[in-house]
């Protein structure tokens, strides 16, 4: 591989890594006081309301959700970390309150599938590229030459095609 292909390969890799989650909440926090609304909202943002359809907990206006936000505040004041609060909610109310299912059991399929899809499609691309380069390298004289003279047959064919397009 020449250095230009390497350049594109590096760009490829950079872009792939670039979209890792850029907001990382403290994983093992010590008691934070005072616990601000913003902190509660940040934790609630990644949890879903257990009763409403697909509404995140920081947006949900119902009384039940207000209770749950109060619960989050309580746990934050006790010094719980985000992951501990998430685990607690999942245990209490079921997996569906998490914005991404936890990686156990059947849920592994969800984590495996995107890399599998990407890798298999890239493999198809690479395989095709390999076959072409191989085929192309075997027929050195097979680059189709542009016709040097325009014959009447060719012109007639072009005429017919153009007539069809009208």
């Amino acid at each position: 591989m020449n250095k230009h292909s390497k350049l594109i390969g590096i760009l490829f890799g950079l872009v792939l890594i670039a979209c890792l989650p850029s907001v990382v909440l403290a994983q093992d926090a010590t008691p934070i006081s005072p616990v601000t609304d913003d902190l509660v909202n940040a934790v609630a943002h990644d949890l879903y309301c257990p009763v409403c359809e697909n509404i995140p907990l920081d947006v949900c206006p119902t009384q039940a959700c207000a209770q749950w936000r109060a619960l989050i505040r309580e746990k934050l004041e006790l010094g719980w970390s985000t992951s501990q609060i998430n685990d607690f909610f999942a245990e209490q109310y079921g997996e569906k309150v998490l914005s991404v299912p936890s990686a156990r059991g059947f849920n592994w399929a969800l984590y495996i599938l995107p890399p599998v899809i990407i890798i298999s499609l890239i493999s198809i691309g690479v395989l095709v590229a390999y076959l072409l380069v191989r085929r192309f390298k075997q027929k050195p004289g097979s680059i189709p030459q542009a016709p040097t003279s325009v014959t009447t047959e060719v012109l007639d064919e072009i005429e017919q095609d153009l007539q069809k397009e009208r």
């Binding site: 257990p50 009763v51 119902t62 009384q63 039940a64 209770q67 749950w68 109060a70 619960l71 999942a90 245990e91 209490q92 109310y93 079921g94 997996e95 569906k96 395989l127 076959l131 191989r134 085929r135 075997q138 027929k139």
Partner: protein, 190 residues
């Protein structure tokens, strides 16, 4: 001749990949349709049907006692789903406690309150407000409400002595009479 051999190889690879591709497409499409079809069938029965068998479940009350359905065989179990944040649950708090006081000594019935998607503090406050004395426990992981296909609160299900669903009521049971209307036929039935 080299090029010809390689051409044949290329053709074989192409043929193989076409077959694999077609097989994959068929598997994906048919699998998808089958899964959607089954999911549709399952979602068609949105709630339990009277007479249906109920799978085993366990409720751990706020006091720490465990109640397992299979060990309660032969008893009539009234399972009531409620939450502190649901307005209509307020309406039935009194009625259920009243009837419980009447039937608890007979030893034939157990009232089990299942706290649906709630916080412990608020649910304890609710129980205190209505002086509920029958066991109540949280629905950990929402497993029990999934089992009973609960879509809202309050809902009441009565499991007969044979372990099957004998009666159900969606919505609040606002008077003791309503509770009796639901419960007595089951008690008498067997």
């Amino acid at each position: 001749m080299e090029p010809v051999n390689n051409n044949i190889q290329n053709e074989q690879i192409k043929k193989l990949s076409t077959i694999i591709g077609i097989a994959a497409a068929i598997v994906i499409v048919v699998g998808l349709l089958a899964a959607l079809g089954i999911a549709m069938k399952r979602s068609a029965n949105k709630s339990l049907v009277v007479g249906q068998d109920i799978k085993d479940f366990t409720v751990t009350s706020f006091e720490g006692e465990t109640f397992q359905k299979s060990s309660l065989a032969g008893k009539v179990i009234l399972v009531n789903f409620w939450s502190s944040w649901c307005a209509s649950c307020d309406e039935e708090g009194d009625a259920l406690e009243l009837v419980w006081q009447e039937v608890k000594d007979s030893g034939e019935v157990l009232f089990l309150g299942v706290n649906y998607v709630d916080t412990e503090k608020d649910s304890m406050a609710f129980l205190e407000r209505y002086g509920i004395s029958y066991p109540n426990g949280p629905d950990m992981g929402s497993r029990i409400s999934t089992l009973f296909k609960v879509t809202g609160v309050p809902e009441t299900y009565i499991i007969g002595r044979d372990g099957r669903l004998a009666a159900m009521n969606i919505g609040p049971l606002t008077t003791a009479a309503e509770v009796h209307a639901l419960l007595d036929p089951v008690l008498a039935g067997q």
